[in-house]
C-alpha cells in the first residue's frame, strides 16, 4: 500500500510539524506531542483535553480551539497516547478551574488516561473524566472491553467545549459531557480494510464483492461480513442497529461520517439515505454534519452517529466553535 510519508517511524511527528505550519492559532509541541490552543489557559474556564491514537484525523487535534478542545494528545498511529502527554496537556490548559478528560473507551485509552489523572491530581490539577462508548456494533458489552468510542466523541467534545466556554464549573461540564456521551450511538461499515504505516498493507482481506458491518476505527474487522450492499441498504441497516438500542424521543444531531477514503460525493448521497430512513422511523433531525471527521486512515466506508438532544444541548451544539476542522458562529 503506497503512502504519502517518509518513513513509518516519523509519521506522527511529521504531521504535527505540518499542523503547526498550517494553524498559527494552535501551539503544537512536536517533541512532547501535545496540541494546545494558543491562548490557553483561559482564565476561569474548564480545560477540555482529549487524545487517542493518530490516524483518526481531524479527531482530535483538528478539534482544538475556542469552543471545543483546549488540548489534544496524539498517540502513535492507532495507539493511545502515554500519560506524560496527558499530564502535560492538563498542566498547559488548567486555569485553576480544572480539566475534563474526554476518553474513548478502549483499554489503552482508559488505562493511560487513568494513570494521567492520578499524576495530574498529584500535581494539584482537578481532573474529571468522561468515557465515550457509543458504538452499538459491540454487543454483549459485559463480556467485552465494552462499546468502543467512535463518532460520539465529536459530539461530546463540541458540547463539552461549549459548556466550558460558557464558564460552567467542572462538575457541570462533566455532567453535560456524560449526558451527551450517554445519548450518542454509532454504527460503522467498511468497504475496504485499512493500511497502517507500520504494517504497510491492509490489516485484513476484504474482497471486492463484500463489506464489513459493525467496524470500529482501528482497522479491526467488524462483527459480520456480507455481500456488498447499496447505500440505501447500508443506511437502513446502520440506522436500524442504532434505533434498536436507543429510540430517541427528542430531536437528534446526526453525524454522517466518512472513514477517510470515501469521497464526499458518496457521503452526501449516503446522507440522503440516512435522512430518508430516519424520516420513515419518525426521528427528527435537528442538525446534520456530513464529512470525514472520525476516520480510520485510508479506510473506505462510513458511520452514522445519532445523539439525542434537548434545547440546552442543541444551544451548546450551535454555539460558536473555531477549530481547524469544525468552525461556525462568530
Amino acid at each position: 500500500m503506497k503512502m504519502l510519508i517518509n518513513v513509518p517511524e516519523t509519521v506522527v511527528a511529521d504531521a504535527l510539524r505540518g499542523m503547526a505550519a498550517a494553524h498559527p492559532d494552535l501551539s503544537v509541541d512536536v517533541e512532547n506531542r501535545v496540541v494546545v490552543r494558543r491562548d490557553a489557559p483561559v482564565a476561569g474556564k474548564v480545560g477540555i483535553v482529549s487524545g487517542g491514537g493518530s490516524g483518526h484525523e481531524p479527531l482530535h487535534g483538528g478539534f482544538v480551539g475556542p469552543g471545543m478542545l483546549s488540548a489534544a494528545c496524539p498517540g502513535e498511529v492507532f495507539t493511545s497516547p502515554v500519560p506524560d502527554q496527558m499530564v502535560r496537556a492538563a498542566a498547559a490548559v488548567d486555569s485553576g478551574s480544572g480539566v475534563l478528560f474526554v476518553v474513548k473507551n478502549y483499554t489503552g485509552d482508559v488505562l493511560n488516561f487513568d494513570m494521567a489523572a492520578e499524576l495530574a491530581e498529584d500535581e494539584g490539577i482537578q481532573v474529571a473524566k468522561v468515557l465515550v462508548h457509543d458504538d452499538v456494533a459491540v454487543t454483549d458489552s459485559l463480556f467485552t472491553a465494552g462499546r468502543r468510542g467512535t463518532g460520539g466523541t465529536l459530539f461530546v467534545e463540541k458540547i463539552a467545549g461549549a459548556a466550558a466556554d460558557e464558564g460552567m464549573p467542572l462538575e457541570r461540564v462533566e455532567t453535560i459531557a456524560r449526558q451527551v456521551s450517554e445519548a450518542s450511538r454509532s454504527f460503522g461499515v467498511a468497504l475496504t480494510a485499512v493500511s497502517t504505516p507500520a504494517k504497510g498493507s491492509p490489516t485484513f482481506d476484504l474482497p471486492e464483492g463484500e463489506l464489513e458491518l459493525g467496524i470500529g476505527i482501528h482497522g479491526e474487522p467488524g462483527r459480520e461480513r456480507r455481500a456488498m450492499m447499496t447505500s440505501r441498504e447500508i443506511a437502513d441497516f446502520a440506522v436500524a442497529a442504532i434505533l434498536e438500542d436507543l429510540q430517541p424521543r427528542g430531536p437528534v444531531l446526526a453525524l454522517v461520517n466518512g472513514m477517510g477514503a470515501t469521497p464526499l460525493l458518496e457521503l452526501y448521497g449516503f446522507n440522503a439515505e440516512v435522512q430518508r430512513v430516519l424520516g420513515e422511523r419518525g426521528v427528527t433531525v435537528a442538525r446534520t454534519l456530513v464529512g470525514n471527521y472520525v476516520t480510520s486512515l485510508d479506510m473506505a466506508g462510513c458511520s452514522v452517529t445519532l445523539c439525542e438532544v434537548d434545547d440546552d444541548l442543541l444551544r451548546l451544539w450551535d454555539a460558536p466553535v473555531s477549530t481547524p476542522a469544525l468552525r461556525w458562529g462568530r
Binding site: G75, E76, F78, T79, P83, G108, N112, A198
Partner: protein
C-alpha cells in the same frame, strides 16, 4: 513451593541483560506480533513493543540502576511513558510492580523473582480487569509465574504453551473482544509477546556468567 534450589543470584546486571535481550527479541519478532495483532486487533503490537523496549534498552544503557528492583521499576516507567496503547500500561505495570516487590536487594534468587513477578502479574490482572482464559497476556504470564517457582525452562515452556492455548479462545478483553466469535482461531499477540519475554529470561538465565546451579 521451592522444592528445588532457587539457583543463581540475579543482580542488576542480569536484569539489564535480560531487558536488553528482550529489546533484541522484540526487534526480531515485531512484524510477527504486528501481524497477529492485525488479525484480531489494530496491527500495532509489534511496533508498540519495539518503541517501548528500544527506549528501555536506551535508558538502561545510559543510566544503569544498582539493584534489580530499580532496574525493573525504571524499565516499567519507561514502558508507560513510551508505549501507550493497552500493552504500555500493562507491561509497564508488570515491570514496575515486580521491581517494587523486589525492594532494594542487590541480588535476588529465582524464588524471590517468582514471588515478585507474581505480584506484578496480579497488578496487571487488577489494572486490566482480565482473568486467565480471556485471551490476553495473562494466559501466558500466569502459568509462567507458577512454573518459575520450579525452573526457568519450565516457565518458558508454560508461557509458550499458554500463548498457543489462546488460539481457540474467544477474547473477552482488549480490542479482540470486539470481534466476538471471529476472535477465535487466532493466537493472542500480547500472550505471544509475554511468552517471548519469559523465553528470553530463561535464555539469559541459562547463559548467565555468574555461578549457580542454573536449571
Amino acid at each position: 513451593m521451592a522444592e528445588q534450589e532457587s539457583g543463581q543470584a540475579l543482580d542488576a546486571a542480569f536484569f539489564i541483560r535480560w531487558l536488553t535481550a528482550c529489546a533484541a527479541a522484540v526487534e526480531r519478532e515485531a512484524s510477527r506480533l504486528t501481524d497477529l495483532d492485525a488479525a484480531i486487533g489494530d496491527a500495532d503490537h509489534g511496533s508498540n513493543l519495539q518503541r517501548g523496549f528500544r527506549a528501555v534498552a536506551e535508558v538502561l544503557a545510559k543510566d544503569a540502576p544498582a539493584t534489580p528492583g530499580a532496574v525493573l521499576t525504571l524499565a516499567g516507567r519507561q514502558l508507560i511513558s513510551t508505549v501507550g496503547g493497552a500493552s504500555g500500561p500493562l507491561y509497564g505495570t508488570l515491570l514496575r510492580r515486580t521491581g517494587k516487590a523486589l525492594g532494594d536487594a542487590a541480588e535476588v534468587d529465582r524464588a524471590a523473582l517468582a514471588d515478585a513477578l507474581g505480584q506484578g502479574v496480579a497488578a496487571v490482572a487488577q489494572l486490566g480487569g482480565a482473568a486467565k482464559g480471556d485471551k490476553t497476556m495473562l494466559d501466558a504470564l500466569e502459568p509462567a509465574v507458577d512454573a518459575l517457582a520450579t525452573s526457568y525452562e519450565g516457565a518458558a515452556r508454560a508461557a509458550e504453551e499458554g500463548a498457543v492455548a489462546t488460539t481457540p479462545l474467544l477474547a473477552r478483553k482488549g480490542r479482540a473482544s470486539y470481534l466476538g466469535e471471529r476472535s477465535i482461531d487466532h493466537q493472542d499477540p500480547g500472550a505471544t509477546s509475554a511468552a517471548l519475554l519469559v523465553t528470553t529470561l530463561a535464555e539469559i538465565a541459562g547463559q548467565a556468567p555468574a555461578a549457580g546451579s542454573g536449571q
